[in-house]
């Protein structure tokens, strides 16, 4: 029972990580680095809050969050894929923009620099059997938990089994070969970034829905943890989701150890240390797609 409750807590914490890390695996497979996850999530969280605040409907909030994520992705795609500017710098710029923009809107709409009014959260889904399970029932009645699980499985299929996934992976490995086949590097890479934006926006919706409000900087570095999970998961949706569960477990442990003598800050460092070890090749080799970070459009380069 204790273990199951712990697992339920870990799953809950992992949801936003898993969504954003799934998106990151998709766009990085296409050869675009996405450090902008944090900003996409923050925009998604604010959009959820505004949508739910103005309409009273949590699901409209979710739609707004996904839209905000897609728009943020479109900005990243415009700068990096269309205009071929540096992908890392663009991501950092977008994250900085999100910090300022969300606070600016918060002040303009809610007249507060720190938090919004209270808004509706997503209602539970009571499914037969699943909802009755001991300890895990509540978490399995949470719509976004189920949707996330489905998206992760679907994402794995999309990347490794679908035609789109094949094209995406070619863009990440040998864009010049893809262009020679007549595929548009710009279109496929941009699609990857937009999907990533939608998923990160959804992650933001989860955060705001759980908390029933938006608070300034509420993503708290979760976009970067998702990026780390994607690396530890070796750029595969299922692997990334497993890494998210590991990181979520460490966070759940941190919460349950609060007040004990064990320094929680050391657990807090765990995801980052694991990622550095993975990058250095101590936990299997984490190798990025070959053409990642390289702005490419062979048609225009030629």
């Amino acid at each position: 029972m204790e273990t199951l409750l712990f697992l339920a807590a870990a799953v809950r914490i992992s949801v936003p990580y898993a969504l954003a890390a799934l998106g990151a695996s998709i766009n990085e497979r296409g050869g675009v680095i996405n450090i902008a996850l944090e900003g996409m999530m923050l925009h998604g969280a604010l959009a959820y809050t505004l949508g739910a605040f103005w309409t009273g409907s949590a699901w409209i909030g979710v739609g707004a969050a996904v839209l905000a994520g897609v728009l943020t992705g479109a900005l990243h795609a415009l700068v990096t894929v269309r205009l071929r500017a540096d992908q890392i710098t663009s991501g950092l710029g977008i994250n900085l923009l999100a910090v300022g923009l969300t606070k600016f809107v918060l002040k303009a709409v809610f007249d507060s620099s720190s938090n919004s009014s209270r808004v509706a959260g997503l209602p539970e889904w009571h499914l037969p059997l699943l909802s009755r399970l001991p300890a895990l029932g509540p978490v399995l009645s949470t719509p976004l938990v189920l949707i996330t699980a489905a998206l992760v499985v679907g994402g794995q299929w999309l990347v490794f089994r679908s035609v789109f996934g094949l094209r995406l992976r070619v863009m990440g490995e040998r864009p010049e070969a893809a262009a020679a086949l007549g595929l548009s590097v710009e279109r496929v890479r941009s699609a990857g970034v937009l999907i990533s934006g939608a998923l990160a926006g959804l992650a933001g919706a989860w955060l705001a829905s759980e908390q029933h409000s938006f608070t300034d900087g509420m993503t708290g570095g979760r976009g970067y943890i998702a990026l780390a999970a994607m690396i530890v998961g070796k750029w595969s949706p299922l692997g990334a989701a497993a890494a998210c569960l590991l990181f979520g477990g460490a966070e759940a442990l941190q919460i349950s150890l609060q007040g004990s003598a064990f320094p929680s800050e050391l657990l807090q460092m765990m995801p980052y240390l694991v990622t550095m070890l993975a990058l250095a090749g101590f936990i299997g080799r984490a190798v990025a797609p070959r053409a990642i970070g390289i702005p490419s459009d062979p048609e225009k380069d030629a």
Binding site: I33, I35, L75, V79, L83, R84, A85, D86, I88, T89, S90, L92, G93, I94, L96, L97, V99, G100, L101, K103, F104, K107, A108, S113, G221, Y224, L227, A228, I231, P263, E265, L266, Q268, M269, Y272, L273, T275, M276, L279, A280, G281, A288
Partner: protein, 360 residues
């Protein structure tokens, strides 16, 4: 791929290299102008007049002695972090870890200033500066060495090390912070950097301090290192073309590690502006994102020490200008402007360079 024009055309057009340089050099100014133009839309959206708001920012941040002192105070750490990022870029490395490095540098300076509080200033001040440079330098050298040894990407590692640094400071805080606060005890008087108002009365009341001349020395030293020494040549060669540099006998790994160590040391020194020059203690969250804004500073300053210094002054003025207008327009306008400058600069610079290459 060849860009060479046929001889006849070249003779007719005559090479005019300054046109290309001018075009590329216009990038930073054009970027700032475009960012301010987009920022004006946000001001309009809030129901204010952009012209008035920008004029107010300019007047209050550069037009009065006190405002200038505030601007210089905010520009000081940005010179350090801008130089840090520029040093990395020159070696072909992207140091996103300046935020962690400045944090640890500041903490090290403060702890040294507290532990050796009784020392006289000619010993204590250098000890504190050394501690800041060492702490930041080690935190920077680590991703440099990981890159050199394992090929691990420095961008991810510096991001990870930022978060590890923040957690480390929280943990160390249990032992070194004053009870129920997030700040250390005060440093010894010998470690305090004097305020500039003592030299120049017009700055009266503003926190600008002797960390500014230190930053300018840092910029001069960076210039000499990069453009007048053998090591600086090696560093730039690795940044421009690593395989060619290796063929020329330069040890790539050692050069990358050194570049990241120097970059981290520079960022670490940025912490002394607050700790030794202003509050005289370390406080969690003191930096106000100076490490991240350093990326914008290096970008706008085109990785040149002089450009970095000018760009730091611009962002310093922007930071103080935001506080001035806060009653009329949310001060977050400044964060939006900073981000817009970054996003626009990378697009504009690329476009201008492509245009410059096409010039006859």
């Amino acid at each position: 791929m060849s860009e060479q024009a046929p001889p006849a055309a070249a003779a007719a057009a005559r090479p005019r290299p300054w046109r290309g340089a001018l075009l590329a050099g216009a990038g930073p100014f054009l970027s700032v102008a475009l960012a301010l133009a987009v920022g004006a839309l946000f001001i309009l959206a809030i129901g204010e007049r952009p012209g008035e708001i920008y004029a107010l920012m300019l007047r209050e941040s550069l037009g009065t002695g006190y405002g200038l002192g505030q601007t210089l105070f905010r520009a000081t750490p940005l010179i350090f972090t801008g130089l840090a990022v520029a040093l990395g870029f020159r070696a072909g490395l992207f140091n996103i870890g300046a935020e962690g490095q400045i944090t640890l540098g500041a903490l090290a300076a403060a702890l040294t200033g507290v532990a050796l509080a009784a020392w006289p200033w000619p010993l204590l001040l250098p000890a504190c500066l050394l501690a800041a440079a060492l702490a930041g330098g080690l935190w920077g050298a680590l991703p440099g060495a990981l890159k050199a040894r394992f090929g691990a990407h420095e961008v991810i590692n510096t991001i990870m090390l930022n978060f590890i640094a923040f957690a480390l400071v929280s943990w160390l805080g249990h032992f070194v912070f004053q009870p129920a606060t997030v700040r250390t005890a005060a440093i010894g008087p010998g470690a305090e950097l004097p305020r500039l108002e003592r030299l120049w009365g017009a700055l009266h009341g503003a926190p600008a301090n002797a960390a500014l001349p230190l930053a300018l020395i840092g910029a001069a030293a960076t210039f000499v290192l990069l453009f007048r020494t053998r090591r600086g040549y090696a560093l730039r060669a690795v940044g421009l073309n690593a395989p060619a540099a290796e063929y020329g006998g330069i040890a790539i790994g050692a050069t990358q590690t050194l570049a990241m160590a120097l970059s981290g040391a520079m960022a670490g020194l940025g912490g002394v502006n607050f700790v030794l020059g202003y509050k005289h203690f370390f406080e969690q969250g003191f930096s106000g994102g100076a490490g991240f804004i350093g990326i914008a500073v290096a970008l706008l300053g085109r990785n040149h020490p002089v450009g970095v210094t000018v760009a730091a002054l611009f962002f310093g003025a922007l930071a103080y200008g935001g506080l001035v207008i806060n009653a009329r327009v949310p001060k977050e306008l400044v964060e939006i402007l900073q981000a817009l400058v970054i996003l626009i600069a990378i697009c504009v610079q690329g476009a201008l360079e492509r245009m410059a290459r096409r010039l006859p």
